[in-house]
């Protein structure tokens, strides 16, 4: 007999990982897509979680800006100060790590704890 399975939104499995990492005593940062314009690969609310060793799970884009977010997360973990990052084709500095899809996103990066 098959039981009715509970279905948890797949958007946030990263939050379970963040909690597990926290319990292991790792420093954890959570990056969240808070705003998107145009065609953005990941919806608002998507998470990328990063630990103090640079391990990460999840995504905030199609892979184009994750590197930059992970590097910023290092600062956030160190200082404890959250950051609001913006990526898009319009911004010259962001172009190097820009979104090839032509969209624009804002990503909030914060330390857990």
């Amino acid at each position: 007999m098959t039981a009715i399975e509970t279905n948890i939104g797949s958007l946030s499995a990263e939050l379970d990982i963040a909690e597990a990492w926290m319990k292991e005593g790792r420093e954890v940062a959570v990056a969240t897509v808070v705003e998107t314009w145009g065609s953005a690969p990941r919806p608002v609310g998507s998470h990328l979680v990063i630990d103090d060793q640079g391990n990460f799970e999840g995504s905030v884009s199609g892979g184009c800006v994750e590197g930059a977010v992970i590097s910023e997360a290092g600062d956030v973990l160190e200082t404890g100060e959250p950051k609001l990052l913006e990526f898009g084709v319009a911004d010259e500095t962001a172009w190097e790590v820009g979104l090839s899809c032509g969209g624009k996103i804002r990503v909030y990066v914060e330390r857990v704890g």
Partner: protein, 238 residues
């Protein structure tokens, strides 16, 4: 992010409760708000809307910038009866983004040939539903026409505050059903929540059209639901 908020949020997600994580992007302070919990003012209104739409986003309120991340359990439909209507309801419900499961103890009806690759359970609802899986994010449709099969899940769905409970049958059939359910101890206020005859009145003339009417009624119940009723119930039992 407050570690306590992270834990509460994950707990809500595991137990299929809707929650919003409210983050003040200015100072980084956050809090978890559960559906039905009263929050005053413009922020409260924004939270209510977020629960109903399921949409996360930024809100500018009183000069502050808040991010509301909505975590709503996946809505699903449990159909009692692997009948002709269900065969049409399954594919259109999937297109509309619902998880759907069909339960029917009659193995001739509940066959893979008739339904393909979906969750199909050839067993009595009493056996399947005893796990307490029905919840406010589940819709229940009872369409077997057979009280032996339909009555129990209808009663359980009402007790579990399923956001939609629909039952097939004419007004006369439904009248008799209400008598039986009343005898089982269900209150009139609960029985009033049953949609019967099932489906929006669009003059549906065949099983496929009835399936469309049922799905439309489920969507309407989901998007227009009023959780203040649950809130008052929680307050009464607290």
């Amino acid at each position: 992010m407050d570690p306590y908020c992270l834990k509460r949020l994950n707990e809500a997600r595991r137990t299929r409760k809707a929650a919003v994580l409210v983050t003040d992007l200015g100072d980084g302070r956050d809090r978890v708000v559960f559906e039905g919990e009263a929050v005053t003012g413009t922020l409260g209104e924004a939270i209510d809307k977020a629960f109903k739409s399921g949409k996360s986003g930024i809100h500018h309120i009183d000069g502050r910038e808040y991010f509301l991340n909505v975590h709503v359990p996946a809505t699903r439909i449990v159909v009692i009866g692997a009948v002709h209507i269900s065969q049409a309801l399954v594919p259109i419900a999937k297109i509309a983004g619902f998880d759907i499961e069909v339960i029917d103890p009659r193995t001739a009806f509940a066959s893979e040939d008739r339904f393909g690759d979906i969750k199909l359970v050839a067993d009595w609802p009493e056996e399947v539903l005893q796990r307490g899986d029905l919840d406010p994010y589940t819709a229940l449709c009872a369409v077997t026409h057979d009280p032996k099969i339909d009555d129990y899940p209808i009663a359980e769905a009402l007790k579990a505050d399923c956001f939609y409970v629909g039952a097939l049958g004419s007004r006369k059939t439904h009248g008799k059903r209400l008598e039986r359910l009343r005898a089982k101890g269900l209150a009139d206020a609960q029985l009033d929540r049953i949609h019967a005859p099932i489906g929006l009145d669009i003059g549906a003339a065949n099983p496929q059209e009835i399936a469309v009417a049922v799905l439309a009624e489920i969507i309407s119940s989901l998007r227009k639901r009023d959780f203040s009723k649950l809130r008052s119930k929680d307050a009464a039992t607290a």
